[in-house]
Amino acid sequence: MTHHPAEATLHALVDGELSPSAAVTLEAHVAACAECAATVASLERLARMAARAPSEVLPPEASWPAISDAIRTTAQVAMERPVWSRVARLRRSMRTSASRALAAAVVIVLLGTAAGIHALRTSGVEPTPRITTAGERTARDESLALGELLRELEARRPLLAPQTISTVEAQLRAINDAIEATQQALEADPRNPHLAAMLEHSRRSREQFLRTTLSLAAEL
């Protein structure tokens, strides 16, 4: 490897998300590259600090409305765009550009995810919690991660074919429904470890699904 890897790749290395051979290749590069080694060291420091941080610590309550507003604004911007006229244009020009063929579903992803975030805000978290539960922390962390994904989607704004749009929409709806149903069951039975594990699984599925959407839409 002669070029510097993307920072996201270094994140993946630190998080242990690379395949074994990719990790070996990247580690070899990092061992020989002072710049990347410094980045990796910084990321590892950050991970250690995050691991040591007390789990009760949350972002200041005052910051949450700003984050929430930002997400809502993003969704509003997406809604105000002439989405379906864009889709209609896309249909007409589908054969003319592959990259354009990806736009509408991202809007669906944005709307679906924003709706999911809104649902999380309204259904799972008390308005001004003094004592936070593990579930609430997870919901907030997830909302922040989803906010990042939204921004990435907004920045890339790739286009998907109409059939793929339907797939994305249906799948996000299915995942959001699963999260909501599990969350309700967990509220009724908060000490059930299986439900907690399932909720975590559903949330991870949504994040993975969005990441996969981003990854597949990139570079095409």
């Binding site: 395949s19 592959a98 793929t164 299915a174 059930n192 299986h194 996969t212 095409l220």
Partner: protein, 298 residues
């Protein structure tokens, strides 16, 4: 009769015209035995096949006017099939032969991907093309939104993520993680650790992981069917919040778990493998099946 003859003539003319509209291109280059290959192709078909030579050989059927961009060094080679036709999606049929241990990366939009015989690291991404992978790669990662996935062989490390496409795996994997949203999953348990997840897709798993290895299965509304030998050497934890649990492996019965759901726990044999299955509304079936015949002994 006249209409049939005219139709046949028209079909011949169209066929000839289509053939004329496509061009066969060939490229060859030296490539290290563990060199990296990246292939981008939107529509058509991508086939990557291993061969025992330190070189790459490409046969491409491309539309007239499209340019196949192919180039690189001995350690890295890149193929890009949509250069030269920015206003259209070229339908390109690519057949690529690469060194067996090459590191292969393929990304398509609708083009199906087939890889055969590779032993290195393989990454396959497609929005809606089907993916078929056979061989024994060290690591195989597949991501698709709508494509069906079929993997056979013995990948050491296998990761598949699918949206609505079904996932079928036949073979052995040391480390296995398969997930879908609504696609069905059919797989043997990995020999090492395994994780199988779906939101609404049904899951069917055959066999048990190796001694001490965990197998975790999560599905929200999909059913989970586990088929193992009549006297499995494993410990089982099965939970379903709303779904039925059927156990044909022991006399143990599900009991109420917390304030919701039912949980079934039992150990068979020495409890070597550790099986955990969780569903929300999906049913769980633990069935005994006759031991599968080892295909190598046939």
């Amino acid at each position: 009769m006249r209409i049939t003859v005219l139709g046949s003539l028209l079909a011949c003319l169209c066929g000839a015209s289509m053939l004329q509209a496509q061009v066969r291109q060939e490229h060859g280059a030296a490539l290290d035995s563990t060199g990296a290959i990246r292939v981008y192709s939107l529509a058509g078909q991508v086939t990557v096949e291993a061969w025992n030579r330190d070189s790459i050989h490409i046969v491409a059927i491309v539309p007239r006017g499209a340019r196949l961009q192919a180039g690189g060094t001995r350690s890295a080679f890149k193929l890009n099939t949509y250069e030269g036709m920015p206003e259209t999606i070229p339908v390109v049929h690519l057949h690529v032969k690469v060194p067996r241990r090459a590191e292969v990366w393929v990304k398509t939009s609708s083009a199906p991907i087939a890889v055969r015989g590779l032993k290195g690291t393989v990454d396959l991404y497609t929005i809606e093309g089907a993916i078929e992978a056979t061989g024994n790669p060290d690591a195989l990662r597949i991501e698709t939104m709508r494509g069906e996935v079929a993997v056979s062989g013995t990948p050491k490390w296998l990761r598949v993520r699918s949206g609505s496409g079904d996932v079928r795996f036949a073979g052995e994997a040391l480390d296995l993680a398969l997930s879908t949203v609504s696609g069905r999953i059919t797989t043997p348990a990995g020999t090492g650790r395994g994780r199988v997840e779906s939101v609404s897709g049904d899951v069917t798993i055959t066999g048990l992981p190796g001694r001490g290895a965990p197998l975790e299965v999560d599905s929200h509304s999909g059913s989970v069917r586990l088929r193992v030998t009549a006297r499995p050497d494993a410990s089982f934890v099965v939970f379903s919040a709303r779904g039925a649990i059927s156990n044909a492996l022991s006399s143990a019965s599900p009991r109420t778990s917390g304030q919701s759901g039912a949980e079934l726990q039992f150990t068979s044999g020495s409890g070597a493998a550790r099986i955990t299955i969780r569903t929300f509304t999906g049913g769980v079936w633990l069935n005994a099946a006759p031991p599968a015949r080892d295909p190598r002994n046939r």
